[in-house]
Subunit: 648 residues, 2 copies
């Protein structure tokens, strides 16, 4: 039944062995000291000087012979003859004999004959005589020649990564140019669907992310990334690109064009011009990985999906780069966490992209099954093949995508510009997934979000809570109809919702919509639900059916995913009206806003996290006067803002 098949997949251990056997050979280059930070030393550094290069004073004071001071005290100072002054940087000429002293500055060379420095605080000077009030011992306040670094000593070993301290050591032995390793890594993105960032995004195309994540990842390992751009899915073009990269690089990373469907192009190319060492690794998402060598230059083909590419890079390629640069161990950034949700695995070895919030780990796809969200992933966990289930609460180790800033709160629900202001003022970091209000309710039910931002109206409230003046009750009916418990509803703010039309449009209200093209919001959006209610009211007044009314509005069944899409459609003239909040019109000069209703944008929060510092901070900010004053136009806090309604 299966038609196209990968050849036998390499096991993870086999793949590691193959990758470890690859010869990735760095070159050597000389870099100016200031540019060598973060690089790896290509040679042992042996110092040609002592540090310090001469015995020097570490305090301001007087260079003396210690034995002259042994008898002195605070009440009976010894008197020494002042020979002169030795400033820092001077080439000393005189010799200190018994009962003599020389004034000396910090860093100045100790004169011949002197063997200690008395701090200036314990001296006084008058007419060429120095009074010493405290004895010193031999060597006191002197840093001896070579006591830090000895001439001829190997101060730094080849392979050492140069940090701040090492840069300081190299400077203090006078190194101006430093031999460091140069490891050029070629990066090739493949795929006919790819477009370079900054270029026009034609239909069916996506921006190339892999070139840039791999560029950053390679740099983080201390190697030198070289971009070869986007190469079309064409064997000739690709072959040409690889040929160039092979001649210039120590390792080549490609991404895309390795799956079995579009054709095994990368694999065939490597097989024709070099040798394939592995075609697929038995770890999810390693199936499309190709490992090979062309003219002694190793080449690794990564998956096209950016999150998958970054995981495979971190797991297999980064350790290779670090090893090739002489690091003894891969400095993998890991962090311990606790699984925040139950997780079912496939019983196959797997790298799973995850997010981390307050120490809790959750799959980055938040249950959607699409392992494609780079923006939602802080790193990944490795799930062994024998694991079929990870219970919430299980400790796991997360390999981080570098030094990531992890979110404080996960927020799902309807789009609202008020959230950005809440984030800014609270100092918290939100990870927001705009799923529409319905998605927000579901995320709280599935425990995949901390907070849902919701504006779901209902004409027929079931519960005990009173209806609004306009007869519409927000959010509570949905909570009750979904049977959500152990949650609290926190009243948020009011938003003006309505129609968006062009400035010059003849449309003045709902009643003018018939015969006009409308762009509606997607199902599950609170704004769409509001329009439904309003249309139903109007149809009732006119004594026609709602369907009759909506059938007369072309596009009523459409479903834009975002308010921005709505605005664009109206502004461009593709459609005559859309639905949204007043903020949209404020941000787009060409739009006019026709208010239909005030809606409640509220927050649904899982009860168990209500007392975390993060949620407390969130609620404090929501109720703050600063938020009230900075909330965007068309949004407004009111007397119920911050009110908490529990649902047990």
């Amino acid at each position: 039944m299966k038609r196209k098949e990968f050849r036998e997949l390499a096991s993870v251990d086999e793949a590691r062995k193959i990758i470890n056997s690859l010869q990735v050979l760095p070159e050597k280059e000389g870099l100016a000291l200031e540019n060598a930070h973060g690089k790896t030393l290509a040679e042992d550094i042996v110092t040609e000087i002592n540090v310090p290069p001469f015995s020097r004073a570490v305090m301001d004071g007087y260079a003396v012979r210690a034995e002259d001071t042994y008898a002195c005290s605070e009440t009976e100072p010894v008197k020494l003859k002042l020979l002169g002054n030795i400033p820092a940087g001077s080439d000393v000429k005189f010799t200190v004999s018994r009962e003599e002293a020389a004034e000396i500055a910090t860093g100045a060379p100790i004169p011949e004959g002197a063997d200690a420095v008395v701090m200036v605080e314990y001296t006084s000077e008058e007419n060429g005589t120095v009074f010493i009030f405290r004895p010193v011992t031999v060597g006191e306040n002197i840093m001896k020649e070579g006591s830090d670094i000895l001439k001829g000593e190997r101060v730094l070993r080849r392979g050492r990564k140069l940090g701040t301290r090492e840069i300081g050591v190299l400077a203090s032995i006078g190194k101006k140019e430093v031999p460091v390793l140069r490891l050029p890594v070629g990066i090739v993105s493949t795929g006919d669907e790819l477009v370079r960032p900054g270029e026009m995004l034609a239909s069916g195309k996506v921006y190339d992310a892999n070139s840039y994540t791999l560029y950053a990842g390679v740099r983080e390992c201390g190697a030198l990334p070289l971009l070869y751009g986007i190469v079309k899915d064409d064997e000739k073009v690709m072959g040409k690109a690889l040929e160039t990269a092979v001649s210039e690089c120590a390792l080549i990373l490609t991404s895309g064009s390795t799956s079995s469907g579009t054709g095994d192009m990368m694999y065939r190319l490597i097989d024709e011009t070099g040798e394939t060492l592995a075609h697929g690794i038995n770890i999810k998402p390693g199936k499309p990985v190709v490992i090979g060598v062309i003219k002694d230059v190793p080449i690794i083909g990564l998956p096209g999906n950016p999150t998958s590419a970054l995981m495979i890079f971190n797991e297999f390629v980064a350790p290779l780069l670090r090893k090739s640069l002489g690091a003894e161990t891969g400095i993998r950034k890991t962090e311990a966490g606790i699984m925040g949700t139950d997780l079912r695995s496939e019983g196959r070895q797997q790298l799973l992209p995850v997010g981390m919030v307050r120490g809790q780990v959750y799959p980055a796809d938040r249950g959607s099954g699409a392992i494609t969200s780079l923006s939602g992933a802080d790193g990944f966990i490795e799930i062994p093949p024998e694991t079929e289930f990870i219970e919430a609460g299980t400790p796991v180790e997360v390999t981080l995508f570098g030094e990531v800033e992890k979110p404080d709160l996960l927020i799902a629900g309807g789009f609202c510009p008020g959230l950005d202001v809440l984030e800014d003022l609270s100092g918290l970091r939100f990870r927001t997934l705009y799923t529409g209000s319905t998605g927000g309710f579901s995320a709280i039910a599935a425990r995949t979000a901390d907070i849902a931002g919701i504006n779901m109206p209902s004409k027929r409230p079931k519960g005990q809570y009173g209806v609004l003046p306009n007869g519409i009750l927000y959010n509570i009916p949905t909570i009750e109809s979904m049977g959500l418990s152990d949650v609290v509803l926190v009243k948020g703010y009011r938003r003006e919702a309505g129609l968006l039309v062009r400035q010059d449009s003849p449309i003045l209200g709902l009643e003018d919509l018939q015969g006009k093209r409308l762009i509606n919001r997607n199902r599950g959006s609170g704004t769409r639900a509001l329009l439904d209610i309003k249309i139903e009211e109007l149809a009732g007044e006119r004594r026609i059916s709602k369907k009759e009314f909506t059938d007369s509005i072309p596009g009523y069944a459409s479903g834009a995913k975002s308010e921005v899409a709505v605005c664009e459609a109206v502004l461009s003239g593709k459609t005559d009206a859309g639905v949204g909040i007043r903020d949209c019109a404020e941000k787009n000069n060409g739009l006019r806003f026709i208010k239909l209703a005030e809606e409640d944008y509220d927050f649904l929060i899982r009860k168990e996290i209500l007392n975390t510092p993060e949620v407390k901070k969130f609620l404090q900010t929501l109720s703050s006067t600063e938020f009230a004053s900075k909330i965007p136009a068309g949004l407004q806090v009111y007397e119920r803002t911050g009110e908490i309604i529990p649902f047990e």
Copy 2:
């Protein structure tokens, strides 16, 4: 009694408050995406596209209407009419109706009408008909338009540090140029004693390390270091330099010229052209620190000593830079450790440079009192004013100087090229302090080293161990006379020691030394002790006193700190002969070696660490055949290599 006095020192809290109040204002610049890694976002990034920009297939297969597949099974496939093929990157034209399917590649746009993708593995195709063997649900194998990032969403907030993941997100929304913060920090080194690395080091001068450590430190914080070079201790010159820096930078860091002795130049300059906010911080080594503002540009004067400058930078300046770049917390790299030795403090708040080895923390000066050794410090600890004593075993927190590679073993003692080979072959990292053999014995006694490399001969052995053929016993007599216990002596290797003369020198042996200029090694060196013994023997043979003999050798009382210094003195013709091991002559073509004796270079190890993995590895390497084959010329392992002699 005290003559020059700092004005009242600011407390550490006051200093922090002053520094926190400084306005360090970054500029904004646009950087190409590939160069933005590690930078800080200057603006919120709002996406103008959905990611993915269209609903796309995440698997190779067939785009279908899910309902068409509900009834199929492995034995009873449904048959669908094949409409055509949709490769990735294509602009789809056709619509999938009931009982139709379109072949689709991973990443290709889902055609109109289709709502699921059947993986190719569960299909077969024949003459325009597709057989489906497994049902799919609506949305299966589809990543929906905007499901990762929604058009109009703020994807990254200003102030976010751009890591690999963020770079990927920016690429996937098509950003080519990124607005990031630019924070130019001027770096000025002051002091007449300073010379730029790479230049000639005249007498009394030292290389400028601070410019480079601060450069690296500023860069590590994400700011832009600008070097203004070395400025002479001259008010006019310095004033000019500061004026330029003030016009170009958001913050200026100077180092040096802030102590009371050389003159309060920096302080006076700031006072004249701006305002001094603090002159000295009440923390060791913060006394020379000056904080001020010139024309709204903050300026911080750091100590001249590189380790002190780096500590004050890490403690006070780095948090300021990070805060100015929008980081919410200073990402201080700290590590928990255990104090390895007792430590006496002065009852004054203090930053103490420390090294770390195997989790143990010890003062970087290893008891010498010179807090100047940058090469020996991995970071620093903060000691509160009320602490006068820290007992060995106390947990302490170390602020690391960045990502430092910490040593595995601390080794003191006599210089030997064999140690570098041991380090390379063992894979261990040594921190070596060449103190001479005597210093090695002392370091073991004081527990400030793990291992001492020693070659101390003695003519009059006290103990039970037999003497060498030449009547000289190595190391054991010193252990016994010092009364060292709880140590083991591990026999190392043999070294040929002798005289170093120029190739064309008439000197053929000790007997020719009279009337010739000699450069001897420093007191405490085993080589010097060997020469003493050999001279005494020869004097005995000639029936003259040792003193009579040595008096006839000019320079016998000299004491070069290193073998390299000996070689240089002989090669340059400044002296006629020196003492050292054969390796020196091998490395310097102009030198001839005259063997005097074979000496034992052994290792003294504290017993309590004998079973650590690091020492075990060290001993394994010492006894390995690889070491035997790679040991430098003039050194030789022999039958006793690796033999362990305990001293209880």
